[in-house]
Every structure is written in structure tokens, then in C-alpha cells.
């Protein structure tokens, strides 16, 4: 059976780490997560990595493979050059815990800060609503998100500029857009998006869209429409004039 080398990040919590090379057998159809599991079972039992479904549905096994943010379970070895070592390292935009595991708890805190769903009163006496499929197609695209946080990992506002306190990141713009465009929702999140969630920081480089394993059009369909709504509300000259006149 052919072999390949995996250059995997190792560290003990709180200590500086480095790459360690593991050579292991590879077979047809294998993905990077299979190789990591094989190494765990045969060579490094204490190697830390997160995973759950191994089918691209849970978004747990996010890592940087040959420098690109990807899900390990959806990265087939036949798409990689196995004549060179395959580097596998943790997401770099989050604090490192151990090996391939990072502290992503910031994301869970951010979500709590987004105003919750507030539906309008029911449309029918039996307490149900009516929505047309065409009106929810866009929202359903956003709700495909598996919360792998790869978009957060690649976003330079977080990764390079560390604006975690002022910017909620692509994942939570998608989350906000799903709520703002939900036909039943009545809450208003535009003020938060402008004032505390930093939608203005995004300069539309579309890195998030490129790494999304669910192929959500994060920039085009979520962030840009949110920016437009914020601009219409707060910066449109005609609206501002009217606001001045009417108070």
C-alpha cells in the first residue's frame, strides 16, 4: 500500500509547539481525517482533534490543510499532492488548545449577542404561518451553515487585525442575514450591525465565501445586502434629509 507523510501540528497546552511528521499507509478514497485517525490509533494515541459526523454535516473537524482552511473529513487525499508532506494545522484565528484543537468559544458568545428571532403574530387561527417557498429560498441557503467557523478563521479582520471585540465575522453576518430576511421575523438588527457588530469592516474580499464547505454565497448574498440595508437606513442622503425635516 502506498504511504504518505502528514506534517501535523503538535503542542501541549500552554507550551510552544511544532510540526511532527507521521508516515502512514494511504488507500483509495481516504480523506485527511482518516489519516489523522490512523495516526492516532497507531502512532500518537494522545493526538487531539475534534470530529463528529465524518460526513461534512457537523462542522467539527476544521483545520488548515496545506495552508487552506478546510474540513478534514471532506478533504480527499487524491486532491492533494502526496509526494510532498501534507501539512495539517489548527485554525490560526483562534487560541490554540492542543494539537489540532482550538478554543472557538468566542463564537458562541458572539451568537448570544445577536437579537433572537421574533415572529409576527400567527397568520391563521390555528397558530400557524404561511410563507411562500420563493420567499424562504435565500434564508434556507444561510441555514445550511454547519458552524465550522472556517469563514471566521480566514477573515482578515479577525485573523490579522484581531477585531474580535468590534466585529462578529462572516458566520454571524450569515446568521443575522438569515434572521433579517426571515419572512416572519419582526426584530430590527441594523443598528447593532452598524454600531457594535462592525459590518462596515468587511471590505468584500470574499475569502469567507471561498472556504465555505456548504458553498454559501456569504459575501454576495448575506454581507452585501446587510451593508446595503445599513446604508439605506443610516447614510442615504434623501432619508437623512427626511429625518431632519420630520424629526
Amino acid at each position: 500500500m502506498p504511504q504518505a507523510t502528514f506534517r501535523i501540528w503538535r503542542n501541549n497546552p500552554g507550551e510552544a509547539g511544532g510540526f511532527e511528521d507521521f508516515r502512514t499507509e494511504v488507500s483509495e478514497g481516504m480523506v485527511v481525517l482518516d489519516a489523522v485517525h490512523k495516526i492516532q490509533a497507531e502512532q500518537a494515541p494522545d493526538l487531539a482533534c475534534r470530529w463528529n459526523c465524518k460526513a461534512g454535516k457537523c462542522g467539527s473537524c476544521s483545520a488548515e490543510i496545506n495552508g487552506r482552511p478546510r474540513l478534514m473529513c471532506m478533504s480527499r487525499l487524491n486532491t492533494l499532492d502526496l509526494t510532498e508532506p501534507v501539512t495539517v494545522e489548527p485554525m490560526r484565528a483562534f487560541p490554540l488548545i492542543k494539537d489540532l484543537v482550538t478554543d472557538v468559544s468566542w463564537n458562541f458568545g458572539v451568537k448570544k449577542g445577536v437579537q433572537r428571532f421574533r415572529p409576527r403574530p400567527a397568520d391563521a387561527p390555528d397558530g400557524t404561518w404561511r410563507m411562500a417557498q420563493r420567499d424562504i429560498d435565500r434564508v434556507q441557503e444561510f441555514r445550511k451553515c454547519i458552524e465550522c467557523f472556517l469563514c471566521q478563521d480566514v477573515c482578515h479582520v479577525l485573523r490579522d487585525h484581531d477585531k474580535h471585540d468590534e466585529f462578529i465575522g462572516p458566520r454571524f453576518f450569515v446568521y443575522s442575514a438569515a434572521l433579517e430576511m426571515h419572512p416572519l421575523d419582526t426584530a430590527d438588527r441594523l443598528g447593532d450591525l452598524k454600531n457594535t457588530q462592525g459590518v462596515g469592516y468587511c471590505n468584500i474580499t470574499k475569502c469567507c465565501t471561498k472556504v465555505c464547505p456548504e458553498h454559501i454565497h456569504i459575501t454576495d448574498n448575506a454581507i452585501i445586502p446587510l451593508k446595503e440595508r445599513v446604508i439605506d437606513r443610516f447614510y442615504d442622503p434623501v432619508t437623512r434629509l427626511l429625518r431632519l425635516i420630520t424629526g
Partner: protein, 605 residues
């Protein structure tokens, strides 16, 4: 060995899939303090992998549907050894629970008049599954998660429970460790809800995530609670069979619901060859009628591909054994053929089955709109679990509740597709409600610190043995192989007796398992601790399966291939005796009230 923290809650919920989250919502709404422990990050539980939908007789697509038909379908699917009261509550309450999800923000696919769309599924007489493409589980868990985080529930992510603590026979809390630091934490609680899911990791080929190690089953069992129906395991007929690394990953029944057909290597639709008598009146007589059914023709009957999962899995097994399988040991599942019937086939498949399209494209280099898939049975679900009271979900240990896959009763010998997600929300809600009520009536629990100390000490023993001990991954792999080969789809007494001998040896090896390194996020250590649970549930499965000398639902005995009326009158229960051995007993089924029995009879036509 001191614990790092002691937390105290009125209601403590173990598991944050659909059932655990729904229980947390209900308990929190009633005003008690709620703690939620999950083994992974929040929102990653196995529920996320559910695809097809959740069954509820909303009657949005076919107004002939009602809770009575759903109830009768569930009992028929379970071969009448279900807890009829649970089946009744489930059928009656599922519609309200689904509508409630919409109020929490779920966005289901719609009917042309804007209501929740429902699709066909195996064993359901009418289109009944509310769904979102083929990612309904993701929609369910995200909706519940996003609702829960605003209710003041304290979530302990990446914590694993190792011991259930009792106070004078009542549930009083748990001992857990956190994965990140490997520290122990004590949780005291006035009521505990187990919602830990299934046991799929006891088998080699499974659709389950790593978390499905039977934790709740084993914790309850070791604390003295009764497990029932452990012999009934659902082998889902359609898992991926190739490439090897993805073997077992689920291919939703929705593929067949949308018109997908099963064929053998000779191109024959073999499902037409074997239709059980009790399903004949409801099954299509030819392929054309089957196709019309999948396209919503109310006069048509369903195609045989949509018979119950146990039956379809055995038919596939038979074709493969007879040498009529596909190149990689499965059979063909073809949805691409619908291009003969619909001009928009490609777009339609991508819209109705987006994650299946994606999954095959990415993992098998196969375009399901153009080529047939190869599929075979995969361990998917355990019908058996903790025995609970139907109304309250309380187990045989006071103050200990269970909901979802780790509880038993609603599904009997076989679960219908779509009944799991609805089970989670119906009984998750009930468990949360009654656990909160029990907590309100009770003074603070006393934590058994000695028992906690024993559990913590035993848990760190693998470090004493270090890297020289048994490799826990190897023990786990051998256990999975044993259960797959000897207690799988087709069972015999001789093989299961052999399995028991293997389990003894594996237990001995597991007691010698060792791991090097530190306690921080050490996957090898976590595997050592999971082994005990996997071994307990494997033994319960095997002993229960030996006791049921007949074939029924998910349990098929080659040496007793027929169903026996006598075995339809009881459930098989397992319980831990004080000396540590496993007791197997027959628990009679209570008689069904006349009103429900009449519904069952009426729906047999």
C-alpha cells in the same frame, strides 16, 4: 482526588442533541435552574446528521392523515411490541411540537399554499415528514440551540459524564470530566435527564458519530436502571459502501421517497420480489404505480423500496449474499433514472437532495443525477434503551429521566424513518417538564462523595499503565468487529455465544488499557473511558438477542426465522444485579386499551 468544581442545578441534562435541547427549553421555561452537559461543542450532536425529516400528522399534504393513522403506522412498524402509550402520545403531540419549531424560527420547505411541506417515507401511509431538503436534523438542532441560548441555561461543552450519583436510591448528580483540561467536575442535581443518543460505535459499519458510545444506556444500567428491547437494532438499508473510508455514512431514505429505486447487478428491482403480507394491501403492484405515489398521486400505493427499514435491509443482504450485489458489496440505488419521467430531473434532485448530491460528489466522485449509487446496510439506531414511564419519561430510578434514542418504548422492534426527530421533541419536552416538576418537589440532593472519588480514581488508572497497557483503539476496533460479525443483521445462537466469550476477553483487555501523555484533550484516554460503556451495551444487546428466540423487526435469527405470537406479549429487560452480573428478564406488555386496539385493527385494511 479533589474535583475542580462542584456545580448545582435543579435539573441537569446530559446530552445536547434534539432531545436534550428540547428538555432544556421546557425545564428552563418552567423557571428552574438548568445545566446542560454535552460531549462535543454545542450544535454538533448526532441529531445534526438526520436527513429525511420529522414525522407528524399535520395533514398539510394529504388530509386523510391523522394522529390515529400515525399511531397505527408506528405500531405496525414496531411489530406491536411498542409501548402503546408512548406511540399514542407521540402521534398526538408531534404536530404541535413541529409547529412550535416554526415559532422558534425553523424554516421548513413549503407547500404551494405556504404551509409546512411533508414528504413520503418508509412505513408511513401518507406524506408525513416535515423537512428541509435532506438536512432536517441540522435545522432541528440549530433551531433548538439558537432558542436555548437565550433562556439562561448553563451549557458545559466538551464534558463527558463518567458516573451517575445516587442519594438513597434517587438520582442526585453526576461526575464528569472536561476534555480540554481533563479535570473532574461534580454536578449535583435534583433531577437528571439522560439524552445521550445511541450505541452505533459498538459496530464496525455505522452511520453514527463518535459520540454514540451508549453512555446514557450504560450509566443508567450501572446505576441499577432497567434497559429494555436492547436486541432491536436498526440497520439502515442504505449506507455508503464505497470508498472504504466512508463505509456506513447514511444515504437518506428521502432518495427513495423522491422516486429512487433499488436494483441488483442484473438490473432487477428486487424489492418487488418479497413484500410481507401485512404490507401487501398498501404496496404498489407495479413500478408505475410506485412512481406515481412518489409524485403525490393519492390513488397510488407506495413502492416496495419504502417498506420498513428492517425488511429492506434484509432484502439487500439477501441479494448481496446471492451474488447479485454491486462491485463493492452493496446494491444500486438509482435516482438518476427519473430523468425518464421529469425534464427537470437534475435540478430537482439537487434541490430535494442537496446534501446527498454533495456527499457523493465530494466523497465518491459520483454524480447522483447521472449514475446510480452503491449502498448497503449500516448500523443506524437502537430501538432499545432505558425503560421509562410513557407520560413522564422517568426511569426505574426516581429522579432519573431519559429521552430520545437512549430511552426505549416508542419504536418497538423497528423504528419508522422520521419518527426519531419527532420522538426527540415530543419526549424531550415531556422529560424536561416532568424533571422540572420533580426537582421543584425535592430538597437539595446530597452528593455521594465517596462514590465520586471512586469513579475519579478509576478513571485515571489508564495513566498508571501508560503506553505499555493495551491500546484502547485496538480494543475498540476488535469489539466493533465482534459485534458486526456475530451480533449483526443475521444472528444465531452459536455466534452470539461466541460473542459473549469475546466480550469477556475484551473486558479483560479493556481493564488493562493504558495511555501515555497528559489528561489534556487526550483522545486515547477518552477512548479508554468509552470502552466500559460500549462493553456494557454490547453485552446487553447480545444477551437480549439470545433470549428472543424468534425474528421480529430489527432482530433476525437465522435459527428462528419466524415471528412467534408468544414473543409479541413481552419486552426483554436487562438489569445489573448487585454482584455485577447481568440479569435478563421478560416483562409483560400491558394490554392495549380497546379504543387504541380498534384504531390498529381499522388501519390494517
Amino acid at each position: 482526588m479533589p474535583a475542580a468544581h462542584t456545580y448545582s442545578y435543579d435539573v441537569l441534562i446530559v446530552g445536547a442533541g434534539g432531545a436534550g435541547l428540547r428538555a432544556a427549553i421546557e425545564a428552563a421555561k418552567s423557571g428552574v435552574s438548568v445545566g446542560l452537559i454535552c460531549k462535543s461543542l454545542l450544535g454538533k450532536a448526532h441529531t445534526v446528521m438526520a436527513e429525511g425529516g420529522m414525522a407528524a400528522a399535520l395533514a398539510n399534504v394529504d388530509d386523510r392523515d391523522s394522529w390515529k393513522v400515525h399511531f397505527a403506522d408506528t405500531m405496525r412498524g414496531g411489530q406491536y411490541v411498542n409501548n402503546w402509550r408512548m406511540a399514542e402520545l407521540h402521534a398526538r403531540e408531534a404536530p404541535e411540537r413541529v409547529r412550535e419549531l416554526e415559532a422558534y424560527g425553523a424554516v421548513f420547505d413549503r407547500t404551494p399554499d405556504g404551509r409546512i411541506l411533508q414528504r413520503n417515507f418508509g412505513g408511513h401511509r401518507y406524506p408525513r415528514l416535515a423537512h428541509v431538503g435532506d438536512r432536517t436534523g441540522l435545522e432541528l438542532i440549530r433551531t433548538l440551540q439558537d432558542h436555548t441560548i437565550h433562556l439562561g441555561v448553563t451549557v458545559h461543552m466538551e464534558h463527558t459524564v463518567i458516573e451517575l450519583l445516587l442519594d438513597e436510591g434517587r438520582a442526585a448528580g453526576v461526575v464528569a470530566y472536561d476534555r480540554e483540561r481533563g479535570r473532574f467536575h461534580l454536578f449535583s442535581a435534583k433531577a437528571v435527564v439522560l439524552a445521550t443518543g445511541g450505541v452505533g460505535r459498538a459496530y464496525q459499519i455505522t452511520s453514527n458519530s463518535w459520540e454514540g458510545t451508549g453512555d446514557g444506556h450504560a450509566l443508567a444500567y450501572r446505576a441499577g436502571a432497567e434497559l429494555i428491547d436492547m436486541e432491536f437494532i436498526q440497520f439502515h438499508p442504505t449506507g455508503m459502501v464505497w470508498p472504504p473510508s466512508v463505509k456506513g455514512i447514511l444515504v437518506t431514505e428521502g432518495v427513495r421517497g423522491e422516486g429512487g429505486v433499488l436494483k441488483n447487478s442484473e438490473g432487477r428491482r428486487f424489492m418487488f420480489d418479497d413484500i410481507p403480507d401485512n404490507y401487501k394491501p398498501q404496496t404498489a403492484s407495479d413500478p408505475d404505480e410506485g412512481w406515481r405515489y412518489t409524485q403525490g398521486d393519492k390513488a397510488a400505493r407506495r413502492p416496495p423500496e419504502l417498506l420498513t427499514r428492517d425488511h429492506v435491509a434484509r432484502c439487500i443482504n439477501r441479494e448481496v449474499k446471492a451474488g447479485r450485489g454491486s462491485p463493492h458489496g452493496g446494491v444500486f440505488l438509482d435516482i438518476a433514472w427519473i430523468a425518464e419521467k421529469r425534464a427537470d430531473a437534475e435540478a430537482h434532485i439537487k434541490r430535494k437532495l442537496p446534501s446527498m448530491y454533495h456527499q457523493f460528489k465530494e466523497l465518491a466522485d459520483l454524480d447522483i443525477t447521472k449514475e446510480p449509487m452503491e449502498v448497503g446496510p449500516t448500523t443506524h439506531y437502537i430501538m432499545g434503551g432505558i425503560r421509562v414511564d410513557a407520560d413522564t419519561q422517568e426511569s426505574s430510578i426516581p429522579g432519573l429521566f431519559a429521552a430520545g434514542e437512549c430511552a426505549a418504548g416508542i419504536n418497538g422492534a423497528n423504528r419508522l424513518g422520521g419518527n426519531s426527530l419527532s420522538d426527540l421533541i415530543v419526549f424531550g419536552k415531556r422529560a424536561g417538564e416532568y424533571a422540572a416538576a420533580a426537582a421543584r418537589d425535592r430538597a437539595a440532593a446530597r452528593l455521594d462523595e465517596q462514590a465520586a472519588e471512586r469513579a475519579m480514581r478509576a478513571s485515571v488508572e489508564p495513566f498508571d499503565r501508560g503506553g505499555a497497557g493495551e491500546n484502547p483503539y485496538a480494543v475498540q476496533a476488535d469489539l466493533q468487529q465482534t459485534m458486526q460479525a456475530l451480533v449483526g443483521i443475521v444472528r444465531t445462537e452459536a455466534e452470539m455465544m461466541e460473542a459473549l466469550r469475546h466480550l469477556d476477553l475484551l473486558r479483560e483487555r479493556a481493564s488493562r488499557a493504558g495511555v501515555a501523555g497528559h489528561r489534556e484533550f487526550n483522545a486515547g484516554w477518552h477512548t479508554c473511558l468509552d470502552l466500559r460503556n460500549l462493553l456494557d451495551v454490547s453485552e446487553a444487546i447480545t444477551r437480549s438477542a439470545l433470549e428472543r428466540r424468534e425474528s421480529r423487526g430489527g432482530h433476525f435469527r437465522e435459527d428462528y426465522p419466524d415471528k412467534q405470537a408468544e414473543y409479541g406479549t413481552f419486552n426483554i429487560a436487562t438489569r445489573r444485579l448487585p454482584d455485577g452480573s447481568m440479569q435478563v428478564a421478560r416483562v409483560p406488555l400491558p394490554p392495549m386499551p380497546a379504543e387504541l386496539a380498534q384504531i390498529v385493527e381499522e388501519q390494517k385494511q
